[in-house]
């Protein structure tokens, strides 16, 4: 094992103090059942067994390299690994910890799939604070979601009438489907984000992404950040963005 820098020690401490690390990695015996059942291992060059081997080794250089790579972003969070592990480990939960720390230290912008966190924050993240929902009909724009097909486009274009026809309460006061979340409730939600670090975490993703844009030689203005959003949203790594 090579010597670890102070920063690496700080990174390792952040990982190991998370309760999800304590819960998700007790003692891996390297049987590989997690990899056998993992949908991400079938689709990507991903291997949850290798992930646990590296984390369990406590080799801080290798762990920091993981945090800068695409590897930790391959997991689809189905948690099939949790059901199968004979030791009760959960590689998917360790992934949550590694992704959190990768973003806290700004390592996520070093990999293509890590950089996508900016797009996730700008879509689902902003939906939560704007609407009080992770997903909202006004935010599922057909041009960003061609896979939703022509029926969704019809729903999107007729959303007020259609949700009303289905006894919904779209953007209105009172209870019911897709009701407008009351202002007092939104205030409480924002307050929870302030108190628990949710707001600060969004800011970190934003700041590190802007830093990346600057490294790429661009001004960090709104126009370029929107271009960066579309780039990370569409870039498959095969020159198609």
């Amino acid at each position: 094992m090579t010597n670890a820098s102070p920063d690496m020690n700080k990174v390792f401490k952040r990982i190991t103090e998370d309760v999800r690390y304590k819960e998700g990695l007790k003692s891996c015996m390297n049987c590989g059942v997690c990899t056998a059942i993992c949908p991400a291992a079938e689709f990507y060059d991903y291997d949850p067994r290798l992930l646990l081997t590296i984390v369990q080794s406590k080799d801080k250089n290798k762990i920091v390299a993981l945090l800068k790579s695409d590897f930790i972003w391959y997991c689809g969070q189905c948690m099939s690994c949790k059901t199968r592990c004979p030791r009760g480990n959960c590689p998917g939960l360790i992934i949550n910890v590694l992704r959190k720390v990768s973003q806290e230290f700004g390592y996520f912008t070093e990999s293509r799939m890590g950089r996508q966190q900016y797009a996730v924050m700008r879509t689902v993240g902003e939906n939560i604070l704007k609407y009080g929902y992770c997903v909202h009909p006004e935010a599922v724009k057909p041009e960003l979601h061609p896979e939703q097909g022509p029926v969704w486009e019809w729903i999107f274009n007729n959303r007020k009438d259609l949700y009303e026809r289905l006894k919904g309460n779209l953007n209105n006061d009172g209870p019911g489907t897709l009701r407008k979340i009351p202002a007092e409730t939104m205030k409480e939600l924002h307050s929870i984000f302030e108190v628990t670090g949710g707001m600060k975490f969004y800011s970190l993703i934003d700041e590190y992404s802007k830093k990346k844009v600057k490294e790429m030689g661009f001004e960090q203005d709104e126009k370029n950040m929107n271009r960066y959003f579309m780039h990370v949203y569409k870039d498959t790594g095969q020159g198609n963005s």
Binding site: C134, E147, D161
Partner: protein, 354 residues
């Protein structure tokens, strides 16, 4: 399929499901894509089963999709969940019913975390008090909404207008069931039948006259992948996983797919359209896809609700082949109409699939 051994295993995974007096936690995805399903769930509980269930305007998202896409800190989601428990407590309820499988996994994970690490619970109580002034009690009973339908499946069937039987042949309809990974894979004992032999949907199907299709990739993920679907560049992961399931179920010629999780319902519906457009491949008969329904929609059809009141017009894959087999009455002219029958136009026809 031989069931004796499986029934023995199921007995070990029977969960306690409260009888009445529920606090309802809505689902972001179900409200967006299947709004008729949550309406039908509340109608079935209140009007068919005579239950008391509270629908609270003050709820928000649980933030679960953001959490599993790793933009929401664990401390934040724990406190959002705690706020919902506080709203339940303030209204005098103790039985928490969750409409979303992702949320069900979230609430279960947090509940277990608080048992294992009491300091997390104490810190969450502190955060919630500071942010909102609220306090909370833990629920006495926590279920997914489908658990309630499962519990009262025989009572629902006793009020049936039709069953899961092909009206022309008298044969049981062949139904694929998909329970969604976060229903029982994380905490098998929190799902009816556990992770190996989940019974929550198969119990409904068999009680309502249908036959469950047991196919090789029955337990494989639909491919949501959270961040993988949210980011356009990674959607190949999502469609590839659904495709694996479609290829595996196709030889069994299912009449329909019923899903527990609103996300899975949406993906199994939309990805059939995408595969058809990309590869000219369909998995149903006569150029159709396989209709994909939520369990509330299935229950609603059994109870004789109008398919367009249930929201089946919001599905990309036409559900009419299933309705015709079940001999469900419907007016094709009203499929895409508004609440007073006014025309809202019609969706464009896909190039390949019906």
């Amino acid at each position: 399929m031989k069931k004796e051994g499986k029934q023995q295993v199921w007995k070990e995974y029977q969960k306690d499901i409260a009888d009445n007096d529920y606090y309802f936690q809505r689902s972001c995805i179900r409200q967006n894509f299947f709004p008729g399903s949550e309406y039908a769930f509340l109608k079935i509980l209140r009007e068919e089963l005579g239950k008391n269930i509270y629908d609270d305007a003050r709820q928000t998202t649980c933030t679960g999709i953001g959490y599993h896409s790793d933009i929401i800190p664990f401390e934040t989601i724990q406190t959002v969940v705690a706020r919902h428990f506080a709203l339940m407590t303030e209204k005098g309820f103790h039985n928490f019913v969750i409409s979303c499988v992702t949320s069900f996994g979230i609430y279960s994970e947090i509940f277990e975390t608080w048992k294992e690490f009491p300091s997390e619970l104490e810190r969450t109580r502190h955060y919630l008090k500071e942010a909102t002034g609220r306090e909370f009690e833990l629920p006495w009973n926590m279920t997914h909404a489908s658990d309630i339908i499962y519990k009262f499946r025989d009572e629902i069937f006793s009020k049936r207008k039709c069953s899961l039987v092909n009206g022309d042949t008298g044969e049981p309809l062949k139904i694929v069931e998909h329970i969604g990974c976060h229903y029982a894979k994380i905490f098998p004992r929190k799902g009816v039948g556990g992770a190996e032999f989940p019974q929550v949907l198969s119990g409904m199907i068999e009680s309502w006259g249908g036959e469950v299709v047991d196919y090789p990739e029955r337990r494989h993920c639909c491919g949501f992948g959270f961040r993988h679907y949210l980011v356009m560049a990674d959607r190949g992961y999502s469609v590839a996983n659904s495709k694996k399931k479609f290829e595996s179920m196709e030889p069994y010629k299912p009449d329909a797919i019923v899903c527990n999780c609103p996300g899975c319902t949406m993906f199994m519906d939309k990805w059939q359209y995408v595969i058809a457009e990309m590869e000219n491949k369909t998995y149903g008969t006569n150029g159709n896809g396989i209709p994909v329904l939520t369990y509330e929609e299935l229950a609603g059809l059994v109870l004789g609700y109008d398919p367009w009141d249930l929201g089946l017009q919001m599905h990309q894959i036409d559900c009419e082949p299933l309705l015709d087999k079940m001999k469900v009455k419907y007016d094709p002219a009203l499929k895409y109409a508004g609440k007073d029958g006014e025309e809202l136009g019609v969706p464009l026809q896909p190039n390949f699939i019906h």
